[in-house]
Symmetry: C2
Subunit: 552 residues, 2 copies
């Protein structure tokens, strides 16, 4: 059994490894929710499968301590009322740890085969997972299907490929023969074994439970670790389904399914710290607030900690002719999932004296207005708008929008849209507020949600300087820029290297600064305060196992 | 210029990369101090070059603050009296940081070429460096030449190869073309740049300044960082020469030599903490005490910290027929550099009921005696003994030997040997002390120096259990075993994987448990308290840089 799954999926794994090295376009899973790809009945089956979870106990046979409901309150109005097993921390850690030796013995290929099989089965359940992502996070369906389904699976596969590649970097055995002049050579047989670090903890987030969760989960698994999956209490179901699929495959290949356990808590009684500081927890993956990410980094010294936290993503606007292109591209960028992406730009730096557009000066206010008008037009048809905006994930974000409006002149106010399908839900357009460059305290921290600041700087050099300062000190995952001057582009490229942020230049078409494609785009850099790791590079996987040597 | 050095050395670099992947025997630099290899006059030139440093100011033009003499007191009786520049911490950090952008722009190939050229020049100065290693560390000449010269250069090259390979894992540019059905595809040009973390601090040790220092130094350099080299105050000269060679090559290729600076302090006025906690220090490599290593790990959160610390290396002796082979092999192992290696075994676990040797029981005491007699015989000719033992590095080690003798029955007492060349120096044979297995407090911490405990356990299963406990809790870099039972070997292999230590099995010939060959043996595992990193694997290099992306 152990290599059967590997052989079944080897071709795709090899393609994934090759794609990760060449970094051109490649994707393993189809992003269109099309009946031709997923089957005529896939969508209806997915809805039914999703609904079948509601109001019931989620069946998963693992060490537990009663039940809990998480804090899933359905931003589209669906009542979850699912009973998940409540974790018994010590019993779960013990059970997970006990499952590791057999998992190690399966070897890199055996483990990669299991991970690939899991991903295939998750892909087959993409609709069920998409509806569960949609109704926990508030994403519109298409985004939930793409980011929560195929793209998350691609990111998971990418992690499997990097982990597999890293373990295969060294052979399992080697002969060492050292010549000794006229004497017989010295000879040794050497054996090298990739050994996982122990139990890994994956802490999910409320907005992208699968996309942000799968990389750490699969990177830890393939490299030989057990994983405790601790979903955000608002977005449990997508990861609960994922864990159950993993446990099914593990059982089928004769591995104790407690290798991967689901740990559900509530907003009122969180348990992450208890798992994170457990002496047997050797790896932690976290996506969420800077406050908690920093706490994990500072307090979990027994573990390798990989974090993605908050940041102040930015756009620098310099002289540029296609102002409509800017407005069109940024309208979508700001609106997608109501700006609740870790990659959505917040700070738009524009020279206060305006920019050159086709040889004519366009004032700061006109540039800001062009963008605001673009957003307004783009969201003018409610049926279309709600399919991009989705809903506001939680009330704190609404409060933050009100707060932002008090900081400066409101260039574009938010409006509430009535969702044609889901009545009474929180669907709001982005708010755009004008700030002066020297009001740095107002824009140097992340205000998560559909909040955009247009910031009047002295000139583009000043924009660059303020971008560098805010990103170096407070982090960012994305930086965008628009300029027709190659020397300005070169300056921003250099500044981006120094600030440690990935840069997108002159996007006016169908690619957006907040999108990041597996196998080609690195997500975050690990080089600024927004994240200490990147999805996915060698460093994301190489610390999750150690090579042990035996020689004779 | 930038690619000229790369092209000159590319063949050797490619060979090194291939050797690191295949892990068979390979070495780039000749380990025999032979006139045929290094030239007829090489040895005399090396002595003269070494002597020319003594009693003078060491010329190196870098930001400084007066002079310091380090604490080099010459264990073979040589008077150093060298004036090194005393570091001005902030000025040095500022200068090093300022040199980074040009170094980054040289690119992975340009930097690898510079590092290779440095290693070639260090190799050409192997005799000079060997004498400076010998007279600072107390190693005998042959060991100083091999471990301090060729083997250290091999470890440096290994780090260059891993760093280069890791950076070349991703292309510098890629075209991303995503099909859009009937519409035109989405197209992006992407650029990927490996960017170092900033300023690295390499903290050298007193016993193996080059062997333990070069891996971190070259790994940081090739991946685009500046490096502050902070030698142990007792062993400055080998690293001072190294830094000067690096600065020469940097100047020749037009890079500001302050990219690599030498920071010398004294035992009385250490400055490591000041450098280590500087906000611009982003990488730290350290070899030395667990106390200080743990302090660095706990207090330098702004940096990636790679440590090699103390441990309790062990040997498990089970039934074995070639008892002479054990005694012969361990005699050399215990004697080499007076047991002052991080790889020398301390705890020898032997069943109290003895072992089976060729079908007959050999009692615990007889096994212990066979080993003791082996050591005694091996060191019976002073001229030969001193060439293996070298000298005791510092007085604390002599005190520790006295302390060890008080812990149990002395099986072999230490004797002082008169060195035929260097009068009055501290040349001492190892001490062997018998302990009971349950006296775990006596042997669970490292007593660094020529101190061996033979420990009477219940049986081999108990030996394995005690090895696991001491190594899991206190760390180890090496574990050896002797057994003729394949099932016992399998048990120890499994236990070694769990304890996270590299294992050597049944060494009776010319390979010793405390030797570790670049490109084939991993030195330490990073999986137990003795070290958080291994020399060298992907994880040792991948955290020293980040990939930044620019796309348009």
């Amino acid at each position: 059994m152990s290599l059967e799954l590997f052989e079944r999926h080897q071709e795709k794994l090899d393609q994934a490894c090759a794609a990760a090295r060449s970094r051109g376009y490649w994707s393993a899973y189809k992003e269109m929710p099309s009946p031709r790809v997923y089957g005529e009945s896939a969508q209806n089956d997915g809805i039914k499968a999703f609904q079948s979870h509601l109001g019931k106990a989620f069946e998963i046979d693992q060490p537990h301590n009663g039940t809990t409901k998480g804090s899933e309150d359905g931003p589209f109005g669906v009542t979850f009322d699912i009973d998940y097993p409540a974790p018994d921390v010590n019993a779960m850690m013990t059970a997970a740890k006990a499952a590791i030796p057999a998992w190690r013995k399966l070897g890199p290929k055996g483990r990669a085969g299991v991970c690939m099989e899991v991903l295939e089965r998750l892909n087959a359940r993409s609709f069920e997972i998409a509806f569960s992502v949609m109704h926990t996070t508030g994403q519109a369906f298409m985004m939930a299907f793409q980011a929560g389904g195929a793209h998350a699976q691609d990111r998971g596969l990418e992690a499997v490929a990097y982990g597999y590649d890293e373990m295969m970097r060294h052979p399992e055995t080697a002969d060492w023969v050292k010549p000794q002049g006229k004497n017989d050579p010295l000879e040794m047989k050497k054996k090298f074994t990739a050994v996982g670090r122990g139990v890994a903890l994956m802490v999910g987030c409320a907005t992208f439970p699968t996309w942000n969760g799968y990389p750490g989960l699969f990177a830890s698994l393939v490299t030989g670790n057990a994983v405790i999956v601790k979903p955000h209490p608002r977005a449990v179901l997508p990861l609960a389904i994922t864990v159950r699929v993993i446990r099914d495959v593990l059982s089928e290949v004769g591995i104790d399914p407690n290798l991967v356990c689901l740990a559900v808590d509530t907003l009122e009684a969180p348990i992450t710290k208890e798992f994170a500081t457990h002496p047997d927890t050797k790896i932690i993956d976290f996506t969420g607030s800077s406050e908690f990410g920093n706490w994990l980094e500072d307090n979990c010294k027994q573990a390798q900690v990989y974090t993605e936290k908050a940041g102040v993503n930015a756009i620098i606007i310099d002289d540029f002719d296609d102002i409509k292109g800017i407005a069109r591209n940024l309208s979508f960028t700001f609106s997608l999932y109501s700006g609740q992406m870790c990659t959505t730009p917040q700070n738009i730096f524009i020279p206060k004296g305006g920019i050159d557009v086709n040889g004519e000066n366009m004032s700061f206010d006109d540039v800001a207005k062009a963008i605001a008008t673009g957003v307004e037009k783009f969201l003018s048809v409610p049926e279309r708008a709600v399919e991009v905006l989705g809903t506001i994930q939680n009330k704190a974000i609404l409060d933050r929008m009100e707060q932002a409006k008090g900081l400066g002149e409101v260039v574009l106010d938010t409006t509430q849209i009535d969702h044609p399908m889901f009545k009474g839900i929180q669907c709001h357009t982005p708010v755009i507020v004008k700030l002066n460059g020297d009001e740095i305290d107002k824009y140097s921290e992340e205000l998560f949600g559909p909040i955009v600041f247009v910031i009047a700087t002295e000139d583009t050099a000043d924009s660059i300087q303020k971008m560098r300062k805010t990103i170096s000190e407070h982090g960012a995952i994305t930086l965008g820029m628009y300029s027709k001057n190659e020397d300005v582009i070169a300056q921003v490229e250099e500044a981006a290297l120094e600030a440690g942020v990935n840069l997108s230049i002159n996007l006016t078409g169908g690619v957006f600064v907040n999108q990041s494609a597996a196998f080609s785009d690195f997500h975050a850099t690990g080089a600024n305060p927004a994240a200490n790791a990147a999805l996915t590079d060698g460093n994301f996987v190489s610390g999750r196992f150690r090579v042990m040597q035996s020689r004779r």
